[in-house]
Amino acid sequence: MKILCVAEKPSIAKTVANILGGGRVTIRNTDSPFIKNYDFTYRFPQPWGEADVTMTSVVGHITAADFTPEVRQWHSCAPAQLFHSQVVVEVADDKKNVARNIKSESRWAQGLMIWTDCDREGEHIGMEVCRIAKEGNPRIIVKRAQFSNLERDHIRRAAQHPREIDERLSDAVDARIEIDLRLGAAFTRFQTLSLKDSARKLENALISYGSCQFPTLGFIVDRFKRVQNFRPEHFWYIKVSVNKDGIDVHFNWKRGHMFDRMAVTLLYERCMDNGSGEGRIVSMIRKPTSKWRPLPLTTVELQRRGALFLGMSSKKVMDIAESLYTKGFISYPRTETDQFSDSMDLVTLIRKQTVDNNWGDFAQNLANSGIRHPRKGKHDDHAHPPIHPVAHVSPPAVDLDHHKVYTLIARHFLACCSEDAKGETTEVVLDWAGERFSTTGLRVIERNYLDVYPYDRWTSSQPLPDFVQGELVPLKRATIEEGITSAPSYLTEPELIQLMDANGIGTDATIADHIETILKRQYAVKVPKGANGRFQQPIDIDPPKRGGGTGRGGAAGGRGRGRGRGRGRGRGGRGDRGGHDSEAGGDKLKGGGGDGQKELIPSTLGAALVEGYDEIGFDKSLTKPFLRKDMEAMMKDICEGRKTRQQVVRESIAMYEEVFQRANGQVQLLRQACRRYLDR
């Protein structure tokens, strides 16, 4: 019996081979310099039983979709034709050796076990492997290993309990690839060719389109315009303070504040007139309160918190998490699940953290005193648990940045298993001649999870004196105060991630890539935080140049997940932005200056495109998230068997074609917008 196992990337093949082979593994080279074949023996469950195993891998997707050669050139056809031109799926040129290896290894195997990552993209890659293997050996029997981390027991269990491969997930990816290709190519050619004469800068520019990029850019431009259009406004409010037991207590007006001086003045005067110099305590209410421990960590939250707490770009956080996963330290980092199943052995995982110098004691206490089962969120992707540590690691085994991300994940996990922080709030309401004022105080009683999660802050306020209901207290001061509104800040990456998530743009796993893409396309620029108001206009930078031959355009719309699965179209390279976080900040937990805390400003081109498309006034705008969200929902329909791949492609294309025709008809609005912004 010979069984072929195929993982998604070489590092996983190596790890899994070592676990299943129990260290007795022989390594063979292949045609590809990156891929090794690992031979060992392993006892699978029946009907396979004891078998000679070859574990190998691919490097991301093997095949690529493209148009037939006659329409690949920029001017070869009208862009709209690309919505219906034939698309062919072939083994990518640079993956030929990968395919060859699988084909030849499968020839002598009776069984094929797919070990690609367990999600849509992984399932799709698994189907590609499956098809290629069947070319070499049509009778090969295919199974699929279900796993979510590379911990030894988990992998062994996965090998013992394989399932069938899910073609629906793979179909959804096929549909997405085709739609992205058509949309990306059609709109990119349309934009690039019809705008090249509208500004000198655009003559040779590549103006790529992606169905996720544009709504993402829409958020950045929207916020920018809000900052740009912001005008400070004055407001007034009444503030009173009393002194009791030697403590100064400030009370805030229940009405908040008003943008009308007359109103505040009159109400103030009325108080002065009707009231005495004393206020009456209406109530003093103490209430227990708690600060909830965080929900279990999802991909989106990891990216957001990473950007917020560690100051890294979300892209970098994901890359590091990916690498921690491959090395077996954390569970699979692409998950939407924010609840741990009841059957999970959390205590064992916690015990693995007891050796840590920083949070070991906390973990020890937690493991000894019994944990509280983590809060359950509303999401479950039924594939992976929330992100959690599976093995302990500390420097120098990993570098500093890896350790920062690992620390966040480990601390987050321990926090999830701890008690909420407990406290008590006190609200005092004071009445002064009919106007109500209130003040609140907080006393933290038990810190609980906060002890292991320094990213959250919750501290006691200054203690309040004891007031008695009905008590008259002399006012120390009662004044009208003036304030002025301040501009919203430009969009930061953590906010953008949340917006994209809330609006259903991209899957959790692709969000970081989309942000990266619009930066690379020069639609937006990251600037250091605190740029408030410094940018009265979008930033003028040169757009990327149009390449020579292929008019395929920015088909990278919602391309997989990046993650080095680049389909070798020359755009796969990592952006030159984002990778250079200067982590000079002394504070280990809050590295202030990194990319994650930078603000996003649109470029002139980015602003022009959004404004132009907005002026065209679609029913479903390209710069708003709805079109994409609908598409995302249709993908889900395929996965859950409600729609077929063909149906979805047809519907999506029809939806976008309508938008395309409209844009085509009103292209002068786009041109004018570009002229406005770029030809100054």
């Binding site: 003045t265 009159l266 110099g277 309160t289 009919g434 004044t479």
Partner: protein, 357 residues
């Protein structure tokens, strides 16, 4: 006692009487306080406070703001060459027959009036007596009938109001779907006054802005609140066309931006504070109705007005004000400048040289 700031200010004394009239008009426009001879400014701040209370108010408030009200720089820069219009055309209430104490609607039983402009339809009603602007406070039994000429939300910034309107509009274009544009942030809100010890709870923070749909063409008396409701300032017009600002001293349910302009209300047992009417739920009856032509293109006019107010649209042609064209200030107070025994004059301040006005 320290010298109040305004003692040193000599500029007001150089103003010509014509300019003073203009200033008064502008004061009215800007602060909504009805100028009336010297009295409207002096009383507001130079109130006679018992020493106990004086000590709790910031001195700058007592004296400093007075000067600021008067010499407000941008106010002086923007003095346009205009004369208050229409003051003389407005009939004085004294010219009317003695007011008959009758309830406007009940006794007339004329429902059609609800849809008409009240001004000119003098069918007998009570009025707010002359000279209320010069009085610090007075209670009027009424009932007095008004029509609502303008509603302003003053508890929210104008930018915020604009944002909500724009969101509602863009959303009605996208098949009624809403883009989530804001996420709760860990930091504080732009407009938030930092209370001491605000408690924010993990997921409890994830509140979404409440939002409303609206439709300009929507029939009926009321629209859904389009800018949200916190605290309203209302311009009320009586049968003679005289306008009064009114404030909600207690929140009134149906009073909000979007209430159909021209809506008729009757007030009774209400307080007037320096000419500004204080509204309470117990003192107001909202009859509904409205004046259609005041409400045409309401949202557009509202947006223009908000934008102009915050300076987003500067070179707007002569303001097409929210309707009705803001009634020029009717100087209600009469010229009883020699009313020396006005009780609220502070001993220390009543010798100030405001006679120049």
């Amino acid at each position: 006692m320290t010298t109040p700031y305004h003692r040193a200010a000599t500029e007001p004394q150089q103003l010509s009487p014509a300019l003073v009239t203009q200033l008064q008009y502008l004061f009215y426009e800007k602060y909504g306080i009805r100028p009336s001879g010297t009295y409207w400014i002096t009383p507001v701040y130079s109130t006679k406070l018992p020493s106990a209370k004086r000590s709790i108010a910031a001195p700058a408030l007592l004296y400093g703001r007075l000067e600021q009200f008067f010499l407000d720089d941008d106010l002086r820069r923007t003095i346009p060459p205009l004369q208050p219009q229409g003051v003389d055309q407005t009939p004085k209430s004294v010219n009317l027959p003695p007011t008959r104490l009758q309830y406007y609607y009940q006794n007339n039983g004329d429902d059609t009036i609800r849809e008409q402009d009240l001004v000119g339809c003098v069918r007998g009603s009570n009025f707010v007596p002359d000279g209320v602007a010069t009085m610090r406070s007075t209670t009027i039994t009424g009932p007095v009938t008004f029509q609502i000429a303008e509603v302003q939300e003053i508890g929210l910034s104008k930018s915020e109001q604009l944002r909500k309107i724009e969101e509602a509009i863009s959303e009605s274009g996208d098949s009624g779907r809403k883009v989530v544009r804001d996420v709760p942030t860990e930091g504080e809100h732009a407009e938030e006054i930092d209370g001491n010890g605000r408690v924010q709870n993990g997921t409890a923070m994830a509140t979404r802005l409440q939002f409303h749909t609206f439709n300009d063409a929507q029939p009926g008396n009321r629209r859904s609140p389009i800018v949200g409701k916190k605290f309203c300032k209302v311009l009320l017009q009586d049968l003679l066309g005289r306008c009064y600002w009114a404030l909600e001293s207690k929140p009134i349910n149906d009073l909000e931006v979007g209430l159909k302009l021209g809506t008729k209300v009757t007030l009774s047992n209400f307080t007037v504070w320096r000419g500004v009417i204080m509204l309470k739920p117990t003192s107001i009856v909202i009859h509904g109705g409205g004046i259609d032509e005041w409400n045409t293109d309401f949202t557009i006019k509202l947006m223009c007005w908000l934008k102009r107010q915050i300076g987003l649209e500067k070179s707007e042609p002569p303001p097409t004000p929210l309707n009705p064209p803001p009634a020029p200030p009717e100087i209600i107070g009469n010229d009883d400048e020699d009313d020396d025994d006005d009780y609220y004059f502070d001993d220390d301040l009543d010798d100030l040289d405001f006679e120049i006005l």
